[in-house]
């Protein structure tokens, strides 16, 4: 996973500029359903032209947050500003915001054209203009020949594009997308992700996307907000989230990770050393952290950043020996599950760069090692 293509729409990185004006500002929003807090004191700034992904497991409050942006739920407390205007109590039909629903919610009694034209008719846009804008939008989502079809005569991918066209044709300031690609199969989803990005780039609309699929979030987003139990636990660019997760939860939720619990035994400004019983060795990390000495910390190492060899590598830090327990061959890469003497199973991925590589097989003893820059140390 590389840096996101979604960042293309955003000029620099406005979230790093304290003077930049946020386009959407969520200010201490809480939404309770009875005793249950679906969204708990969330504050968020989203800038113009961004694709901001709310990522989290089901029930984490991401959809409730999105629905509050759309006006379908009223926050229990807090405020929402869009383009500087307080939108907290404004009903959906008066917001400069459109939403693409997870179920697409296409009107079954109207054909594609009527579905897309619906919002414009509602705004009493002159008829010739409606026709022109609908036709342009249908061409943009490559549905030019399907104008007279009813939704039930379309495939899943086509319906998704009708829903997209319908929500974009009103030229909203902000487009909310609820699991936009959830109902599509894998190939189509990948293809549509890139289409969505180029469309967003072309139109310059700010997107807020809700997804539970971390790969989707990584591909689409300029920034990701990882949500858990109604809170945003970390917000940042995809690479920040992946390479510098701020907690065990984020490291584990985004991508796969090997987590080693240990104790700080050396705490210097430019490096730390962690003694881990789980690993059965020490972990040397080439950056300082802020934690009290002897604190319990976790070192997270991504599977692709672990080297696997049959010969012992040099050094004593960041090296461990184990036996291959399981191998999953995925074509482009293979996943190895290596069992350490401590009982801990470590996940290692290796690209299959050569067609006739001398394969490491089951039960084989291997050495695992990683660079001092690879582990991320988290304290919670």
């Amino acid at each position: 996973m590389t840096t996101s293509a979604g960042a293309a729409g955003v000029k620099a990185a406005p979230w790093k500029d304290p003077a930049a004006r946020p386009y959407v500002q969520v200010d201490h929003i809480t939404k309770s359903f009875g005793e249950f807090k679906a969204v708990d004191d969330v504050s968020l700034k989203i800038y113009q032209g961004e694709i901001f992904c709310l990522l989290g497991a089901s029930g984490c409050g991401k959809t409730t947050l999105l629905r509050m942006l759309g006006g379908f739920e009223t926050p229990t407390s807090g405020k929402i500003f869009i383009d500087g205007e307080d939108m907290t109590g404004v009903p959906p039909y008066e917001r400069p915001v459109n939403m693409m629903f997870q179920s697409y919610a296409l009107f079954p009694h109207m054909n594609v054209e009527q579905n897309v034209a619906f919002g414009l008719k509602q705004d009493r846009v002159p008829k010739p203009e409606i026709e022109e804008r609908v036709a342009t939008m249908l061409d943009l989502v490559k549905l030019g020949g399907f104008a007279k079809r009813k939704p039930h005569q379309l495939s899943g991918g086509q319906r998704q594009r009708v829903a997209l066209a319908r929500s974009l044709v009103k030229r909203p300031k902000l487009l909310l997308l609820d699991e936009p690609l959830g109902a599509l199969d894998k190939k189509l989803r990948e293809h549509t992700q890139f289409e969505l990005i180029s469309l967003q780039d072309k139109l310059g609309v700010t997107f807020v996307v809700v997804t539970h699929d971390q790969e989707e979030a990584m591909t689409l987003a300029s920034r990701i907000g990882v949500m858990d139990h109604g809170e945003i636990v970390q917000a940042g660019t995809p690479s920040e989230i992946y390479e510098f997760p701020s907690s065990k939860f984020v490291a584990d939720f985004v991508g796969s990770v090997n987590m080693f619990e240990g104790k700080l035994i050396e705490d210097e400004p430019e490096h730390v050393r962690i003694g881990s019983d789980e690993l059965g060795g020490t972990i040397y990390v080439s950056h300082g952290i802020s934690a009290p000495p002897e604190a319990i910390v976790w070192a997270a190492v991504r599977p692709e950043k672990i080297f696997m060899s049959t010969a012992p590598p040099g050094g004593t830090d960041n090296v461990v020996r184990g036996a291959v327990q399981d191998i999953a061959y995925l074509g482009d890469l293979s996943i190895y599950l290596v069992k350490l003497p401590t009982g801990k199973v470590v996940r290692v991925t290796q690209p299959n760069t050569s067609r006739h590589a001398e394969a490491i097989t089951w039960e084989q003893q291997v050495y695992l090692s990683w660079d001092a820059t690879s582990p991320v140390v988290v304290t919670r």
């Binding site: 459109n98 629903f101 009107f107 009694h109 509602q122 705004d123 039930h152």
Partner: protein, 304 residues
């Protein structure tokens, strides 16, 4: 070979029997009586028992006389009474259907939008009146509507009125009775339709700029069209031929075709004329029934 094997040799299968059963039922209790009524409608009136002359007569000497008499039908179109009764029945049925729509739509909508637990209770309340006889319920309305009935007593006790209102034996009482009795037939198919509705469509409509009432008018109403049609037919078709309610609540001026039929049959003992009325009524309703059938077929096919 067992019995089943024997039967199969004559083309009788279990599946065939199951399919045959409803047809047999229809044959016995609809087609046969219908043919008898049709036959009587073409007969001459006679002062005998039964009070009509046979259609087919064996004259002896190798000759058979078949006499088909269209006079009964012609008679229906010469006397304004019958035409008026037909037209009035259609008018009453139509107004009743519209009233059922106005009262029943909000009820069906409310039930469909209620929480699942409340929904079952509300549905039960709609069906509950069926547990007592229709006649009993219509008599109960007499008790409510008559001059010294419950409604007048309460109103005069409250001081709203001094003289009792005349409600019983008026068109008002008749419509109250019909709407009250047929309302469940309107609500249930409409509810079944609304219950399938995807309410997120309303959110989508609001998102695209509709106020809630506009969303209702543009989305909910057109999507519930088949439910409205089904409910309307279930009210309209039986209401045209309704006899009990207009007779008990509507008083002597409620000239409806069901009443005319009763009078011809029992008071005048004009069975052939009564039969002709019945056949005409059926012919009148067939197009509506066919329409209802096609609506039902469309509804179950899922296309809207």
């Amino acid at each position: 070979m067992n019995t089943a094997g024997h039967l199969r040799r004559f083309g009788v299968t279990g599946r065939g029997l199951v399919v045959a059963l409803p047809y047999l039922w229809l044959l016995l209790f609809f087609v046969v009586p219908f043919v008898i009524v049709l036959k009587i409608s073409f007969s001459d009136i006679d002062l005998a028992i039964p009070p009509y002359k046979p259609l087919i007569e064996w004259l002896g000497k190798n000759s058979l006389a078949i006499k088909v008499n269209f006079n009964n039908y012609a008679f229906l179109f010469t006397d304004r009474l019958y035409i008026n009764a037909f037209l009035n029945s259609i008018k009453v049925a139509f107004i009743s259907t519209v009233l059922c729509l106005l009262v029943g739509y909000p009820m069906a909508y409310g039930i469909a939008r209620a929480k699942p637990a409340t929904r079952n209770l509300l549905l039960l309340l709609v069906i509950l009146p069926f547990w007592t006889s229709l006649l009993l319920r219509v008599y109960a309305w007499i008790g409510l509507l008559k001059a010294n009935g419950v409604i007048n007593n309460v109103l005069s006790w409250l001081g709203v009125i001094h003289d009792p209102l005349t409600m019983l034996y008026t068109p008002f009482a008749m419509y109250v009775g019909i709407v009250y009795s047929y309302l469940p037939f309107f609500i249930l198919p409409l509810y079944a339709n609304l219950e399938k509705m995807d309410w997120q469509l309303l959110e989508a409509a609001e998102d695209l700029g509709c106020r809630p009432w506009q969303a209702f008018y543009k989305i909910t109403l057109p999507l519930s069209r088949n439910g409205i049609l089904a409910g309307s037919m279930l009210v309209f078709i039986p209401a045209v031929g309704e006899f009990v309610i207009p007779a008990l609540l509507g008083g002597p001026n409620a000239l409806m075709i069901g009443r005319v039929l009763w009078d011809e049959f029992f008071s005048n003992r004009a069975w052939p004329v009564a039969s002709a009325v019945a056949i005409l009524l059926l012919l009148l309703l067939v197009p509506f029934m066919m329409w209802y059938q096609s609506v039902q077929a469309r509804e179950s096919a899922g296309a809207r």
